[in-house]
Symmetry: C2
Subunit: 380 residues, 2 copies
Amino acid sequence: MTEISRPSRTGLPVVGMIGGGQLARMTHQAAISLGQSLRVLTGDRDESAALVAADVELGSHTDLAALRAFAKGCDVVTFDHEHVPAEHIRALAAEGVRIFPSAEAIRYTQDKRVMRERLSQLGFPVPRWAWLAEAGLADFGLPAIVKTVSGGYDGRGVFLVSSLEDELPETDLIVEELVPLRRELAVQVARSPFGQVAVYPVVQTVQRDGICVEVLAPAPDLPEPVAAQAQQIAIRIAIELGVVGLLAVELFEVDGGGLLVNELAMRPHNSGHWTIEGARTSQFEQHLRAVLDYPMGETHLTAPAVAMANVLGGPPGGMSIDERLHHMMAAEPGVKVHLYGKQIRPGRKIGHVTALGEDMADCRARASRAAAWLQLGEAS
Amino acid sequence: MTEISRPSRTGLPVVGMIGGGQLARMTHQAAISLGQSLRVLTGDRDESAALVAADVELGSHTDLAALRAFAKGCDVVTFDHEHVPAEHIRALAAEGVRIFPSAEAIRYTQDKRVMRERLSQLGFPVPRWAWLAEAGLADFGLPAIVKTVSGGYDGRGVFLVSSLEDELPETDLIVEELVPLRRELAVQVARSPFGQVAVYPVVQTVQRDGICVEVLAPAPDLPEPVAAQAQQIAIRIAIELGVVGLLAVELFEVDGGGLLVNELAMRPHNSGHWTIEGARTSQFEQHLRAVLDYPMGETHLTAPAVAMANVLGGPPGGMSIDERLHHMMAAEPGVKVHLYGKQIRPGRKIGHVTALGEDMADCRARASRAAAWLQLGEAS
């Protein structure tokens, strides 16, 4: 076991996060409350987390030497994305670095084929699927969904194929049935090395053009047995795959009411941003607690209804973001805003807003209006 | 008007805070949500805020050249303490620096005699008082409270005098009647340059040895007319003294039910730490909104009862702070912890905890138990 230096002068641990995006930025906020300061490895000094964290190291997440040097200043290392090569994670772990989730767990988020195979073996409900190299599209049946096994996010790497003539990228692909969707759900669950598990209430996610635009907590009108089943699926996946840290399970609720597992993420996730104000423990604090093997925090809702809306970059021109923020705050003094310090590009996630209250329709309307102010400069 | 450089690359303002203690640390957390990164001037790289903020400048708050250089990188400058010489604040403002609260306002927190005189002139209820250099102790009547006009905090600079033989420090002193106290209350109010005012619910503060140990929000069993009067006093003081930013008004509720103004602070204050989870807008975000002339955020309670307990450093030895934190989290998974990254010394405020719920007695018990775990390593 390699000796890990302990740079903290406060007697509290140092967590290192590989990747400096908005997830690391919000994890740093949570770390501050725990007496810590998140250590961030990023390739870009202008990334979201690098703009606000005291302890930032520049380096590439694909460079083992950089990862090794970074890990020396940390008690535990974790991730704000799933792009660190599994062999690097394995190498660090072999050298005694505490790094979570493990290479064995995170590969299920790095390769959709491996994930689908494993979940199928374990008996979890998943859409009918096949490896496209083995099953011809014609045999599988059209229309169908074709996905790249790695690299996809926010709708990228996902194709609706309705004809055998459709052009597809030349990379590893899986094909899945087009599920008769009622809606999409998500569940956050955290698991510690000790094995303690804490699950959050089930939420509904609303997508537009493949991008999550809204999250409603709790998922409205979800029958209690279905909610319990979704939570059980998330807990069992976390245990079966040996996840340490946060696991987000994205689910399809199909017409008729059944559940199918869609995607996994092993880190704080957009579908859990509502927890910052909407749950007693935010997903960011929970992720820190989990990777540090601290006892988990309460996951209760803090209000009967919580609605989160993403803020996407609007078209160029018009009001400045600062002016938009003034108008939004004047119009919606109870909505909580989270801006990520990103350069604005049309369609890019630059922040999110959260509205809390007694009534979901009201919360949803307020969050949507606030997000519209920030991205368009005018209520839609 | 001096041109102020705008170092932010995100289109959002840079607020500079003079002083790097826990107030700046928690203000930085709030700034991150608003798309900002707090710029901190501190004399010590190991101070609470300097450990977690990306943009830290080393320098003394009494050095005008350092203040001037610091202000160049800020859109607005504010304070986490009241120790910047008023002439420096005035000089910066004359050079075009937006700095809040102003020298004219902040002097009421720098000199208790000036504060008492002004509040008396304006007709606010204050304890009977006199300048000790003018009124002899014998004439004033004993027992009485003697206070240094500047430099006191957490019970320091305050003396209960019961005999003419008692020794007193050789500095400017005021004497005040020993008020027949029922309890102490506090009110947070924020005011923007535009003049918008937002007031928080009235809280009860509980002191031990002159140090605030607990804050209860809302103040239990406070008659609504008294609560409204306390809020009106705070609002009127903010307006009359031209405060911009947060103003904390500490009040005595005297036997019989009347209110007297005790102390003022023009910054986020210990009596408002409960707002981080307990109010829809935290005092730290509200202070940023106020000094930036943003619209104020909602001040509603997020739960029927909120109890905050300070964590004081315990005696040397025993369990490490990290081990104590494990025990506390296991025992109280719903209590929110805020540790300031400070070196532990007996009696020093090293953090605080907040419990939220339906019942004040339960919240108070949970917060007290959690604080006891952290400072003693065992529940008291």
